[in-house]
């Protein structure tokens, strides 16, 4: 019974939501940034002067991790774990926070990897035609749109929950 009580605790559920946002968005970004880094390293062995350009592309899929952290922070702030007296949440409120974290957790994970693949392919552009950097960046930024929308969805939901 004690376990059930913990599981249904509103704050616990809200924290799971915050954790999911950080974990999955971060996982996705880590994989994606790693993926781009591997390809970039290949280019750098031949042409070290392209470091700045490839680094720019590598940084792009890193934003999902930041969005995840951001969402978590907004949740923590709202329930008072960061910067204020901790509020006692009902189970329903906890579930609401958990749901609010889902967009950035799931879309963040997937979009980071998709963006990583696009950015890795963009490194190929840099290798052959360095003057076309903007186009490679734009392709990757197209994917990022959906991470931004998910972040927006998550944040608006968190802001909208009444406690």
């Amino acid at each position: 019974m004690k376990l059930l009580e913990v599981l249904l605790n509103g704050n616990f559920l809200a924290l799971i939501g915050a954790a999911c946002a950080v974990i999955f968005a971060g996982l996705g970004s880590a994989r994606a940034v790693g993926m781009v880094g591997e390809v970039a390293a290949g280019v750098i062995t031949e042409e070290p002067e392209k470091f700045a350009q490839t680094l720019l592309l590598q940084a792009l899929p890193g934003t999902q991790g930041i969005y995840g952290l951001l969402t978590a922070f907004v949740i923590l702030n709202k329930i008072g774990i960061v910067g204020g007296p901790v509020k006692e949440l009902t189970t329903v409120q906890g579930v609401l926070f958990l749901v609010a974290a889902l967009p950035i957790a799931i879309v963040g994970y997937k979009s980071a990897i998709a963006q990583g693949k696009t950015a890795a392919a963009g490194i190929g552009i840099i290798a052959k035609r360095p003057q076309e950097l903007a186009k490679a960046v734009t392709f990757a930024a197209m994917v990022e749109t959906y991470a931004v929308l998910a972040l927006l969805g998550s944040i608006l939901m968190v802001f909208g929950i009444n406690i």
Binding site: T63, Y67, F73, V74, T138, M142, L152
Partner: protein, 655 residues
């Protein structure tokens, strides 16, 4: 404030005067030479003219340049003087330039010598490595004082080698003293991996002894090519290293002595670059047996000076200068005021306009300016960016792409400062955090963290304005092409329909007007959008289907929600940094932590958000804005001129 008009130059001259003419054109440096090699070689021309092929020569020159460049690089390596980051080019008088080049042979000798010296230095480095490794392998044996070449006497054998650290040396010694009494073992040294052993035994028992030791993991070593004790060998190696050092110093001295040649070599490099460019230009001409033809473009503002310049020529040649019309594919040079100019970079990264298009920069610049600042949105960050880039611009006056980027960031910084002040973000909420909530810098407008919906609405409004501008520009280009009806039907009617929809959303009295506008818009759109079709039913179906574009318009507007998302992100990350920084309170340790977290965190936040703001502002321009009216695909204007790396040749006389 637009695309600069170009004049087309056609020049036919005598083959024997070609190099003089080319040289002269290079000196004035305003003509962009067309590659007519491929375009003009149509049926009627074949057989009459030939491509002027100088690729081989250009390639040889390129190789020579590479040699000089690496020689210069070596010189820089051994030169103590530090050069500033954005050093201006040295000025060299044209007379002096040709004077220096009289000693070309001398310079080539120097280039060869430098590369030879560098090779020798590399060999010395290898030798030094070898010696250092040798010393490292000898050091553990230091306490052994028998000569290393002594591996046997008349009746005994001397064995040296290592045992893994896992083997119990004492145990082995004991065992051997019993089993093979005609042996003597000495433990020379022990380190963390192995024990160093010297064994002496009677020749008849050598085999047995090695077998026993091998079983324990013994690895026999021999010091071939060496004589004397270990210590003597180490000393010899140390002496050799000293010798290597001495040699290196002399070699370095020799290279340093050549450092005086550096300025001459830079001149040589630039001379070769000029020669190469000339050869490349020659490859763009066509020639017959005794004549050649050249085609190119000169910008309008240079055309008078160009005309004067060539009228002073003494060569026999024919030159025609025609004004271009916008259907011709001339190279693109943009001319904008000081505010818009940095934003040309954004368009250059996408694609330059075609000659028939309008220059999008004056329209794009204000939006980029506003969006960039809104997405970073912190007054202190904006100030830092503007000050940092401002100092670099003021001190070094960088040109070209770097210059444009820095100026863009400078303007972006100003915009960021304005938005930050409007939103009340100064390093996030540092004042509130440090004063534990007693003080807050109030926003001049409103704080988006308190009221995100309000900023979301504004993001959509900004987006709507930009999309309306894009449609207006599309309409303008249609009218310019003479398609007035298309402009009215495809742009005007959409304006009515979309404005009606927006008003309908607002509601109230305006909403009623909106309702009628929408209805009128819908009916007119259904009637006109299928006008290209012949069949009346197809006309109507296409008209109805075209209303689907409204969805596209909506999704374009929604895309501007990123303005809010990225704007919020900066503020939230900043307050995360501030919260972490102030966690330890205000004792000495806490203040140190605050300073470290504050500096590191906010620098990181500025970088990541400026990058994000740049990428996403660009994306809004490329996809949402340019997508509506702009095609691009123009090629940049690249005048044929003296393009040097190290020096400026003053007085553009014969070089």
């Amino acid at each position: 404030m637009s695309i600069v008009k170009m004049h087309k130059i056609t020049l036919i001259g005598l083959e024997k005067e070609k190099s003089g003419i080319i040289e002269s054109l290079m000196n004035i440096g305003v003509l962009d030479i067309n590659d007519i090699g491929d375009t003009a070689l149509t049926e009627e021309w074949t057989g009459l003219v030939d491509k002027d092929n100088n690729e081989d020569e250009a390639l040889t020159l390129e190789l020579d340049m590479e040699k000089v460049r690496s020689a210069l690089e070596y010189l820089n390596q051994y030169d103590k003087q530090k050069k500033p980051l954005f050093a201006p080019k040295r000025s060299v008088d044209a007379l002096r330039f040709s004077d220096i080049l009289k000693n070309k042979d001398d310079m080539w000798v120097a280039v060869e010598k430098i590369s030879k010296l560098d090779e020798e230095l590399a060999q010395l480095r290898m030798e030094e490595n070898r010696l250092e490794n040798l010393i490292a392998s000898l050091t553990p044996w230091k306490s052994m004082n028998t000569p290393v070449e002594l591996i046997s006497t008349k009746t005994t054998s001397v064995i040296m080698g290592v045992l893994p650290i896992a083997a119990d040396v004492k145990e082995i010694f004991k065992e051997l003293s019993v089993n093979i009494p005609e042996s003597y073992l000495q433990l020379v040294n022990v380190d963390k991996d192995q024990s160093y052993i010297q064994a002496i035994c009677h020749k008849s028992r050598e085999e047995e002894l090695t077998r026993v030791l091998k079983n324990k993991g013994f690895n026999r070593l021999s010091f071939t090519d060496m004589k004397g004790t270990i210590n003597q060998n180490i000393e010899n190696s140390l002496k050799s290293i000293e010798e290597v050092d001495r040699k290196r110093e002399t070699l370095r001295g020799e290279i340093a002595a050549l450092a005086g040649k550096r300025e001459d070599l830079e001149v040589l490099y630039d001379y070769l670059a000029i020669q190469r460019d000339r050869n490349i230009a020659l490859g763009r001409l066509l020639k017959t047996e005794c004549t050649f033809i050249l085609e190119g473009w000169v910008p309008e503002h240079n055309i008078n000076s160009f005309r004067n310049y060539i009228s002073k020529w003494e060569w026999d040649c024919f030159v025609s200068i025609e004004e271009s019309n916008k259907d011709e594919d001339f190279p693109i040079l943009l001319e904008n005021n000081r505010f818009v100019q940095p934003f040309e970079l954004v368009t250059e990264l996408y694609s330059l306009p075609k000659p028939s298009e309008i220059d999008p920069n004056p329209f794009m610049a204000p939006f980029f300016f506003v969006f960039f600042g809104l997405m970073v949105g912190d007054a202190a960050y904006g100030l830092l960016m503007a000050i940092a880039t401002g100092i670099v611009i003021y001190k070094f006056k960088p040109q070209g792409t770097v210059g444009k980027l820095l100026k863009l960031l400078f303007l972006g910084g100003i915009s960021t400062f304005i938005w930050g002040a409007l939103f009340g973000g100064w390093f996030g909420d540092i004042v509130t955090q440090v004063s534990s909530g007693k003080f807050t810098i109030p926003p001049l407008w409103f704080n988006p963290l308190d009221d995100p919906m309000r900023l979301l609405m504004w993001s959509f409004i900004f987006g709507g304005i930009q999309l309306y501008t894009a449609m207006g520009l599309k309409g303008y280009s249609l009218i310019r092409e003479g398609k007035v009806l298309d402009a009215v039907f495809d742009i005007g009617l959409w304006y009515i329909f979309l404005t009606g929809l927006v008003l309908l959303l607002v509601g109230g009295n305006v909403g009623t007007i909106g309702k009628y506008m929408t209805i009128v818009g819908v009916i007119l759109l259904i009637l006109t959008q299928g006008r290209a079709e012949k069949n009346i039913f197809k006309k109507l179906t296409k008209g109805v289907l075209s209303l689907y574009n409204a969805v596209g318009f909506m999704s374009d507007v929604l895309s501007y929600s990123r303005l809010l998302a990225l704007g919020l992100a900066t503020g939230v990350i900043a307050s995360v940094i501030n919260t972490i920084g102030t966690l330890l309170g205000f004792n000495i340790l806490g203040i140190i932590v605050l300073l470290i977290v504050f500096t590191g965190g906010h620098v990181f936040n500025i970088l990541i958000n400026a990058l994000g703001a740049f990428v996403h502002s660009s994306r809004l321009q490329y996809v949402e804005f340019f997508g509506k009216f702009y095609e691009g695909g123009g090629k940049p204007y690249k005048p044929f001129k003296i393009n040097t790396k190290y020096i400026n040749i003053t007085d553009g006389r014969k070089v």
